[in-house]
């Protein structure tokens, strides 16, 4: 997937920040439609996006900005690292936008006791912790955050792939978010199909990567 994105950016001029905007917007639309289906309203809902330091977290931040058009809910972005350590330009940009808004509360900590209450008290969780680059043992506080998400009883929407799931094999190497639904981008990762008990309902969202950008990239190299 990384290679496809890179190809889309360098050879087609589709900038990653656009892809992130489309991803986050698509996710927000899906959550809204899902809430309609479930007959759930935004009023008084506590919506929390749990974000890691990569682009998965950035997608979730964009999603929160779009969701916050519904003023009846309470929105919190919970970042598991110091914002100054956000790894990508796109995630940093979207964090900075959120710092200027009043409608989304921002909180960051790597201390489990400080994030615990916010995750367990939520009605809707967006899982933007880990993306398709995951391998091996998950470190703290990400590991505990995954446990807390699974314990929360909230509706859980995973960004691209449930945190902890191997996108190619569907294997869980350590632990994994059990999502109500997963909104995956550009194309359905193989691992999602192999392990639906973690992904929940799978929804595919196109994020502006042209089909032509896939040329020359082997399918098993996503």
């Amino acid at each position: 997937m990384y290679k496809i994105e890179e190809n889309a950016e360098t050879n087609f001029g589709v900038r990653r920040i656009y892809m992130m905007e489309n991803a986050g917007h698509g996710l927000a639309d899906f959550i809204e439609s899902k809430m309609g289906e479930m007959n759930t309203k935004f009023i008084d809902k506590r919506i929390v996006a749990v974000c890691g330091g990569g682009n998965n977290g950035g997608d979730a931040m964009v999603c929160m900005r779009h969701l916050s058009y519904n003023p009846e809910a309470k929105y919190t972005v919970l970042l598991l690292i110091d914002p100054r350590d956000l790894r990508t330009e796109e995630a940093r940009t979207n964090w900075t936008i959120l710092t200027r808004l009043n409608s989304v509360e921002l909180f960051w900590s790597n201390q489990i006791d400080q994030i615990k209450g916010r995750i367990l008290d939520s009605d809707i969780l967006i899982d933007g912790i880990l993306g398709t680059g995951v391998s091996g043992t998950i470190r703290e506080p990400h590991s505990s955050a995954i446990d807390l998400i699974n314990k929360s009883g909230a509706y859980i929407f995973s960004v691209d792939i449930p945190s902890g799931l191997d996108p190619n094999t569907g294997q869980v190497h350590d632990k994994c978010v059990r999502a109500t639904a997963t909104v995956t981008f550009h194309r359905i990762k193989k691992g999602l199909l192999n392990n639906e008990k973690y992904s929940g309902q799978i929804h595919l969202e196109h994020i502006g990567i042209p089909r032509e950008a896939e040329r020359g990239i082997l399918v098993n190299e996503v």
Partner: protein, 207 residues
């Protein structure tokens, strides 16, 4: 990344007051409070901020005359460079770090416009340049305490050595836009194009 900055244009000399607030703790620093203090108080109330420090980029009256009232109303401590002769609670010098929650402001001593001029740097993000550097211009060197040679060293050795990406927040709205970046100023600010100290002094009319 952990802060929100508010730029307030105040008074009839196009001054900028800044409020820098830490998102998590709601602590704030007020840079150069003067003129329309009501705007500052309104902002603090509206955003539920607690002013911890007042910081002056230098001691000229148009940057400091709100100090006493803001300090009285908020309990904030007044911070200035040690060369300032005005009343202050804390003196700072080159490379001192002022913390407001998770925000660190590093002090760069940049004399030239005045003896106690400082710039405040948020690493990788921003620099508050007071009257040392404006958008498209630099501060006057003919006022009491001004020193052309010091200004040359401050601008060419210190400010120009900062990272290009830093957003420049100047002390007055004198330029084509209220903010800029170090990179843009190095390219386009006429006062930063001199090849030598003499050329700079000639440009400033004191060569």
């Amino acid at each position: 990344m952990t802060e929100v900055m508010y730029q307030l244009k105040v008074g009839n000399m196009a001054n900028f007051t800044y409020v820098i607030s830490d998102i998590q703790t709601h602590l704030a620093a007020i840079v150069d409070p003067s003129w329309d203090l009501q705007e500052i108080f309104q902002l603090l109330t509206e955003k539920k901020l607690k002013a911890k420090h007042i910081i002056n980029t230098h001691s000229h009256f148009d940057h400091v005359f709100g100090n006493d009232e803001v300090a009285k109303m908020t309990g904030a401590t007044v911070i200035q460079h040690s060369n300032s002769r005005l009343r202050k609670d804390i003196s700072v010098a080159e490379n001192d770090v002022i913390s407001i929650g998770s925000i660190n402001l590093r002090v760069l001593h940049t004399p030239g416009h005045s003896e106690d001029s400082i710039c405040l740097i948020i690493d990788k993000e921003a620099v508050f340049t007071g009257d040392t550097l404006f958008v498209g211009a630099v501060g006057r060197i003919d006022l009491p305490g001004g020193n052309p040679k010091d200004m040359y060293l401050s601008l060419y050795r210190k400010v120009s050595a900062l990272e290009d990406q830093l957003t420049v927040y100047p002390g007055h709205d004198y330029g084509s836009s209220p903010v800029s970046t170090i990179g843009k100023e190095k390219l386009s600010n006429l006062a930063l194009q001199a090849k030598s100290e003499n050329e700079f002094l000639a440009f400033m009319g004191v060569g």
